[in-house]
Each structure stands twice: as structure tokens, then as C-alpha cells.
């Protein structure tokens, strides 16, 4: 479900479950975290998706089928760990999104030092509608788009790549969706050719500066995960998730 290809100093991670629009399962996130661990020596990392969309978010059918809430909890924990693992790499991370990056898929943008997207990519967090809190990704997105994070997490509306570029969630636009993967990988290759010492020191220093300015500091990701977990399994979520899934919406 996760493909890792290494070419010289560049490691390319591909979400590879195209028949389900790369919808995330707990097993898939475990695999992603393991593969990220294998990128430790890389000089640059690209994260892209196979098929027609980058990532449709959590596999909600699995969540709806599990009234205990364990599946949703595992997904939230896995997503938090995966983003933290990408942020923790010494090497710069390029995230290339095409087609759609929804909810958990949009959260993965917060892992990118450089984010590329197709102009027509659909990006957003419709999850409050189904009674799920996207708090888990707030620290990562807050550090990427500052004050705009409130609108993006609380408004379930979807935006396109152009708007995401305007608010700084996406750094570079790609005209054709089909070119995103290739352009993201070539950007990673360019970054991999720069001297590693200055690169990793700079990446860590920006995190440290941001952390120094944030009241929760390094505790923010855990606090955010706890906020999302705190409402897992509540009536609101069970009713709304069941209703949405029953209507045939896809996650």
C-alpha cells in the first residue's frame, strides 16, 4: 500500500491504494511510518499518490463498521505519527498532491517543507460534518499557514489548488494534475543535490524557532492528537458518520 523507491539520494514514498483513492487505513499508516524510517539516510524525500487522487482521507467505511471507535483512534494516532516522522527527517520533504487531498490527506500537506499541487486539486477538511475533530493536524498546519488554519479546519468547504496557493498551504502550482508526481520528484532531486549539513541544520532550526514561539512548544502534536481522540466514539460522531456513509458518500 506504500511504495518506497530510492534513486541516489532521493527517496520517493507513494501512497499506493488507487482503487480506494489512497484512503488511509491503520495498516497503511503503520506501513508509511515504517517506510519513512527507511528514508533516514535520504538527502531529500518526495511524498506522492498513485492513481487519480493523492489521498481521499481516512477509509471511513472501516470506521463506520467499527462502533468501538478503535479504528478511528488508530487512524488518528497513525496520522499524527506519520506527519511527525516526516517532519523529523533531516532531509527536506516535498509533498506533491494531485486530484484531491481530503481530510487526513490534506493533513499530510503539513508534513511538507515544499508543497506542490495541481491547480484543480480539491483540498479541504469536511470532517467536522461527520463529527470528527481535525485537531490532530492543527499544529502542523498552524506552522504552515498560521492564522488561516482556523478557517481551513473549521469550515468544511473544499478549496482548489489556486486558493490553497493564495493562502500559502501550497507553495507551487502545477498546471496539469498528471505532471505533479514527476515535478515533485524532480524538486526533491534538486534539493538532494544541496549540501546536507546546512540543509538539515536549517530545517531543524525553523522548527525550533516556531516551537519557541508557540506556548505548547513540542507538546503541541500530542495535545492535538488527544483533542481529536477525546470525541472518538461519541454519539455525534456515530450518528453523523453512519448517516454520511449510509448515503453512499465516500471517504
Amino acid at each position: 500500500m506504500i511504495r518506497l523507491e530510492t534513486d541516489g539520494g532521493v527517496s520517493v514514498l507513494t501512497l499506493d491504494r488507487p482503487e480506494r483513492r489512497n484512503a488511509l487505513t491503520p495498516e497503511m499508516l503503520d506501513e508509511l511510518i515504517a517506510r519513512i524510517g527507511q528514508c533516514a539516510g535520504a538527502r531529500a524525500v518526495a511524498l506522492v499518490g498513485a492513481g487519480s487522487v493523492f489521498c481521499a482521507g481516512f477509509d471511513l467505511k472501516r470506521c463506520a463498521d467499527d462502533p468501538s471507535g478503535e479504528t478511528l483512534g488508530a487512524l488518528l494516532r497513525g496520522l499524527s505519527r506519520a506527519i511527525a516522522a516526516l517532519r523529523g527527517l533531516d532531509a527536506p520533504v516535498v509533498v506533491g498532491v494531485h486530484g484531491g487531498a481530503i481530510a487526513g490527506g490534506a493533513a499530510l500537506l503539513g508534513a511538507g517543507d515544499v508543497v506542490l499541487a495541481g491547480r484543480d486539486t480539491t483540498i479541504g477538511y469536511p470532517v467536522v460534518k461527520i463529527g470528527v475533530s481535525p485537531a490532530v493536524s492543527a499544529p502542523f498546519l498552524e506552522s504552515s499557514i498560521a492564522g488561516m488554519v482556523r478557517e481551513r479546519l473549521l469550515d468544511p468547504d473544499l478549496i482548489d489548488g489556486v486558493r490553497a496557493h493564495e493562502i500559502g498551504l501550497v507553495h507551487e502550482l502545477v498546471d496539469e494534475q498528471t505532471d505533479v508526481r514527476e515535478i515533485a520528484i524532480s524538486m526533491a532531486r534538486r534539493l538532494s543535490e544541496k549540501p546536507a549539513g546546512g540543509m538539515s541544520a536549517t530545517k531543524r532550526w525553523v522548527d525550533e524557532i516556531h516551537s519557541a514561539q508557540s506556548p505548547l512548544g513540542e507538546r503541541a502534536p500530542q495535545r492535538a492528537l488527544d483533542a481529536s481522540l477525546s470525541i472518538v466514539g461519541c454519539d455525534e460522531e456515530r450518528e453523523r458518520l453512519g448517516a454520511i456513509w449510509g448515503k453512499g458518500a465516500q471517504g
Binding site: 498560521a146 500559502g168 544541496k194 549540501p195
Partner: protein, 255 residues
């Protein structure tokens, strides 16, 4: 010896000029010393509401003077840390100034030079100026100026800008929030900066000073320890064999 930093006061507007045009106003220790002296004068000015920072000649500031930080060339392994510490202290002094600070980016603003523009409250440039942070291309870490870039454009855009290196067009820089305005030509920039200075100087000095102080508290600008750690980090990366090799090659190729 010519004066490496000039200070002119005209009504409510003071102008601080980096004056080492033949070296594109590259930051050597002597230029930084001169800027500190001028800032001491600025801090004693009472009727001035606006401080414009600019460069003489065709460039604003080309960044650090490489000749002083290649140890093989300078013969002084401690000079890099002194230079970066002095730059860090200068950024803190400019940020703490009670007046509104404006970077009039008259030409190239590279690396530490571009960082200096981010310290100012407002920065304006023209369409032909070269901007950017090529530090990572040279194996360096722009740790002294990174906090100011983060405060100017946010951590996310700062990551993108600082980790991709290279140069940025003024139009792109404006889109990213790195500069506030881009004029068509150096002449138009001069006129714009003059008008901007006059307009800013029309504000009440106490209102401006109180607002600036609050803004500095809000975004952590008064965190001196962070800038000092940045100077140490930047110097340690700069003195690494990887960076020294690249910089020495760069110096040799430029003669």
C-alpha cells in the same frame, strides 16, 4: 577611510545607508561596527519617527563578506562567530528601535542582506532587485536571520524559502509576503519610499512606539537568546569542513 555607514536625518525621517558600494555592501566586521555606531546615534534621536535602511550604489546588501569567513583566507577561525553575533545584535537593535523601520531595497538583497530587510517593519523594492536566501546552496544555515523570516512570512513559507535556496523574483517575494511593495524602477522606488516615509512620520510618536513594542512582544521579537543561539548555530555550520570547502571554491572562482 570612507564612512562605511551613513546616517542622515531629514525632519521626522532618518536614513541609515550601508556604504560599501564597491563590495555590494557585503557585511564585513568593519561595516557591522559602523552600523552599530550609527544605531547608537539613532537610539538617541528623539524627534524621528521613521528609520529608512538602504544601500549605496546598485545593491542593498550582498550578504556576508565571504573573504572574512573562509578561515583559510582570513586566518581567524573566530571571525565568523564575531561577525554573525554582531549581525544578530544589529538585527535586535533595529527591531527594538522605537521608530517605524523601512527597508528601501535599492538592489540585490542576498542572504544576510535579505534577512536584514525582514527585520524592518516594512520593506519595499523594485522589479529588478535580486532577492533570496542561497545559504543552503553553499552548505550554510541562515540561522541568524531565520527568526526574522519566520516572523515576516510564517514558518511554513520560511521553510519553503530557506530550504529551496536560490534567488526569488521581487514579484514572487511580494506574493509570499517577503516584501510589502514592488515598484517598477529604482527611481519609482525612491519616490515611493520618500512618500511612505513622510506618511509614516505623520503618525504620533507615542502611538507608533507603543504599537511597535506590542508587536515585538506578540511575535517574540525580544527573544535575544534565540538570536544568539542562531549566531552560534550559523557559525558552527559555516566553520564545518563541508561549508568551508564550498566557500573557498566560490571565493577562488570569483577571484
Amino acid at each position: 577611510m570612507t564612512d562605511l555607514a551613513l546616517l542622515r536625518v531629514d525632519g521626522g525621517v532618518a536614513t541609515l545607508t550601508l556604504n560599501r558600494p564597491e563590495q555590494h555592501n557585503a557585511l564585513c566586521i568593519e561595516l557591522l561596527d559602523a552600523l552599530h555606531e550609527r544605531m547608537s546615534e539613532v537610539e538617541r534621536l528623539t524627534d524621528v519617527r521613521v528609520l529608512v535602511v538602504t544601500g549605496s550604489g546598485r545593491s542593498f546588501c550582498a550578504g556576508m563578506d565571504l573573504k572574512q569567513v573562509v578561515i583559510e583566507r582570513s586566518g581567524d577561525a573566530g571571525l565568523a562567530l564575531r561577525l554573525l553575533s554582531s549581525l544578530g545584535e544589529l538585527t535586535l537593535r533595529v527591531r527594538r528601535a522605537a521608530m517605524v523601520t523601512v527597508a528601501q531595497i535599492n538592489g540585490a538583497a542576498i542572504g544576510g542582506g535579505c534577512g536584514l530587510t525582514c527585520v524592518c517593519d516594512i520593506s519595499v523594492t523594485h522589479a529588478r532587485a535580486k532577492l533570496g536566501f542561497p545559504e543552503v546552496d553553499l552548505g550554510l544555515c541562515p540561522a541568524v536571520v531565520a527568526p526574522w523570516v519566520v516572523r515576516k512570512v510564517g514558518a511554513g513559507m520560511a521553510r519553503k524559502i530557506l530550504l529551496t535556496g536560490g534567488l526569488i523574483s521581487p514579484v514572487e517575494a511580494q506574493r509570499m509576503g517577503l516584501v510589502n511593495a514592488v515598484l517598477d524602477s529604482p527611481e519609482a522606488l525612491g519616490a515611493h519610499a520618500g512618500e511612505l516615509g513622510e506618511r509614516l512620520a505623520s503618525g504620533g510618536p507615542r502611538a507608533l512606539a507603543a504599537t511597535k513594542k506590542l508587536l515585538n512582544e506578540l511575535d517574540g521579537s525580544l527573544d535575544e537568546a534565540l538570536i544568539r543561539r542562531g549566531a552560534e548555530l550559523s557559525a558552527s555550520v559555516l566553520c564545518s569542513p563541508e561549508a568551508q570547502l564550498i566557500l573557498a571554491e566560490r571565493l577562488d572562482s570569483s577571484g
